[in-house]
Amino acid sequence: MKNTKYINLQFLLLLSLGITFFSSCERDFSDEVVFATFPPNGDVFIDAFSSGLDYFPFVDAGADPEAFSVETEDVFSGSSAMRFDVPSFGNGFVGATFNTTANRNLTSFDALTFYAKASQAAAIDAIGFGIDGSTNNKFQVTLNNLEVSTRWEKYVIPIPDASKLISETGLFWLAEGASFAGDEGGYTLLFDEIKFEKLGTVAQPSPAIFSGQDLTEQTFTGSTVTITGLTQTFNLDNGVNRTATVAPSYFDFTSSDIEVARVSELGEISVIGEGTAEITAVLGGVSANGSITITSSGTLQAAPDPTLPQANVKSIFSNTYVNDTESNFTPGFGGSTTETTVASANGNDVLVYSNNNFTGILFENTVDATALTFLHVDVYVQQAGTEVGIQIRDVGANQMIETDPNTGFPIADDKDFRFDLTGLTVGQWTSFDIPLGGDIATQKNNLGALILTGGPNFIMDNIYFYTE
């Protein structure tokens, strides 16, 4: 107790001296002033937790906090290594971040490196650094499916742009588990000599946005588009091109017309006016592959307001009604080219589909439409000749979508009804009321999905089942 007081007193004395000094002589910082920086300590786990480091398992997400331990038998060098026991399928997963309470300056390094080994050949789902709740993971880096073998080998995760990392706490994170019954699980992962290093051999940066694609999107004022597919690729000294998913804040985004679209530091594009703007990006002075050209046709008029009472409706997507079920609007079907965004125009949400070949709306809980007779949907298009196919799918008692991969038609206990949305007028909302007919006339108690084909560009609103 006494000791603490003494230190506090000393500190106060120092502080008052400082205050006196600054208040007594007003002046600007001279050129010689060097601002204090956080220490450039690159060590994460050499033989023990480095200074200030702590273990934060992702317990809320279902990670097993007991999966981590310190290994002293099988180590790469020194006295200990990090050990993770990856649970078998269905028993949780390994997921944690190792953060420091003492912020680090990582600007003098070019990579996070470590030695790793597994009790069986495995691919780590996600591994990297930069998890930091206080900055919303502003500088997160994630390597997916890192393959590790059964002998100790060195791995390198390059820093996308080290000049950004002046005050970091998230030094190492990983997530690995058996994500399906046949996936690897019930094995041991070991890590040793985890540290940030200046290798000098991390070279030839090749950043990308939208995974290097040049996209075009028809949209309208008031909508937002998120930049996805943000990666940085480096060539390593073993010839491997290492690509990591990186946070948007590593990039500098540019809009060719800021009166049409502006981009935030987080890669959110806000469409603010009529016209065309191209969005490009630079990472660490290198132009990123990929871009998006946004054409805004001005303000989107609102779809006609639904008039039916809530009691007659089971809604999928509408600001007018309470949803009957939540839905997955981006199911990511294999081979799908569709980009789906929920955009907001004057407080009303709409679904914007771009480059559609096929996609779907997957209901999280099936809809019992036994007492209902129609599906309502409003569609808005900006290109003449646009037609959209809609398939109302009943997934049957087993609640699973079962489709013949060759024909695309429902099999087993599934049924569907297909309807084409045609005769659409450019620049206007067209409303459709589709009878729950055909094969689902007698089986509509487990409606599980709407499949959308054609387009390729259209906007939808007010999707709901109803009875008159």
Partner: protein, 284 residues
């Protein structure tokens, strides 16, 4: 004739050139002086006798450089995949730098094009200091080289004519340099060779000086200020053939038995940047 012309030009510009290069030369010989022992022969190669600083944009100087065109026999003896051309798409001088560009394109039955320059019949010399300042390309299946062949190769086929590889490098090992000699009884996979690893750096991110010092009975291999090998008649498992004029080659190959084929991760075009080529002779 052409050589005589060249020499005259060189001598006109010689004094200025030597002034510029002397600090480097002094540094080098200082280093070499430290490393000297009884078994080494040291010669001061300080007289600049040939140089190309690539100071004129366009095609390389035709009085100094010729080209190999096509695919040779079996991809120049190595199953190389490129078709060599002298088109500006594959070779040109821009802003003081010679660019040799490997392109991925369908051309005369090949999937890649590139270029190979050589001073055969234009500049040939026995002994001397040969060096070039180069930034290398990178990627699986990329194979640049700065090398020499015995000038009597038409009468005395390879490997009898002799080959000195001042710089060879595999694009998939961007920190690793290979220097070799080939001759009768020690060619191809049995060449007398040494690798040098550039610690904490790579050859494709900046320019490096690759050179040899070649005198009677020895060839010293160096990169930047590091002498990393000396080969003498005692090191070769056959006849020492490095006692006659050789000519210079600079090329960028794609694929072949030495490097393997490019893969999906190899990006094209790949460019080899040559800042200069300089040859010095003994100052007598």
């Amino acid at each position: 004739m052409k050589r005589e012309n060249k020499k005259r030009t060189v001598q006109q510009r010689n004094s200025k050139r030597l002034l510029m290069s002397s600090p480097l030369a002094m540094l080098f010989f200082l280093m070499l002086g430290c490393a000297t022992d009884d078994t080494q022969t040291v010669t001061n190669f300080t007289q600049l006798v040939m140089f190309d600083e690539f100071s004129t944009d366009g095609a390389p100087d035709s009085t100094l450089w010729g080209f190999d065109i096509g695919t040779g026999e079996n991809g120049w003896g190595n199953n190389e995949l490129q078709y060599y051309t002298d088109r500006p798409e594959n070779v040109e001088v821009v802003n003081g730098i010679l660019l040799i560009k490997a392109q991925e394109e369908s051309f005369e039955g090949s999937s890649y094009t590139s270029a190979r320059l050589l001073t055969k019949d234009l500049f040939e010399q026995r002994y001397g200091r040969f060096e070039a300042r180069i930034r290398l390309p990178y990627g699986q299946g990329i194979w640049p080289a700065f090398w020499m062949l015995g000038a009597d190769i038409d009468e005395n086929p390879w490997p009898g004519a002799g080959e000195i590889d001042i710089m060879e490098y595999r694009g998939q090992n961007p920190s690793l340099l290979i220097g070799s000699v080939h001759g009768p009884g020690y060619s191809g996979g049995n060449a007398i060779s040494k690798e040098y690893t550039l610690e904490n750096d790579r050859f494709d991110t900046g320019f490096h000086i690759f050179g040899i010092e070649w005198g009677p009975e020895y060839i010293n291999f160096y990169v930047d200020d590091v002498l990393y090998n000396q080969i003498t008649p005692a090191d070769v498992t056959g006849q020492w053939v490095f006692n006659k004029p050789f000519y210079i080659l600079i090329n960028l190959a794609v694929g072949g038995s030495f490097v393997g084929s490019p893969n999906a991760e190899t990006t094209f075009p790949q460019t080899m940047l040559v800042d200069y080529v300089r040859v010095y002779n003994i100052n007598d």
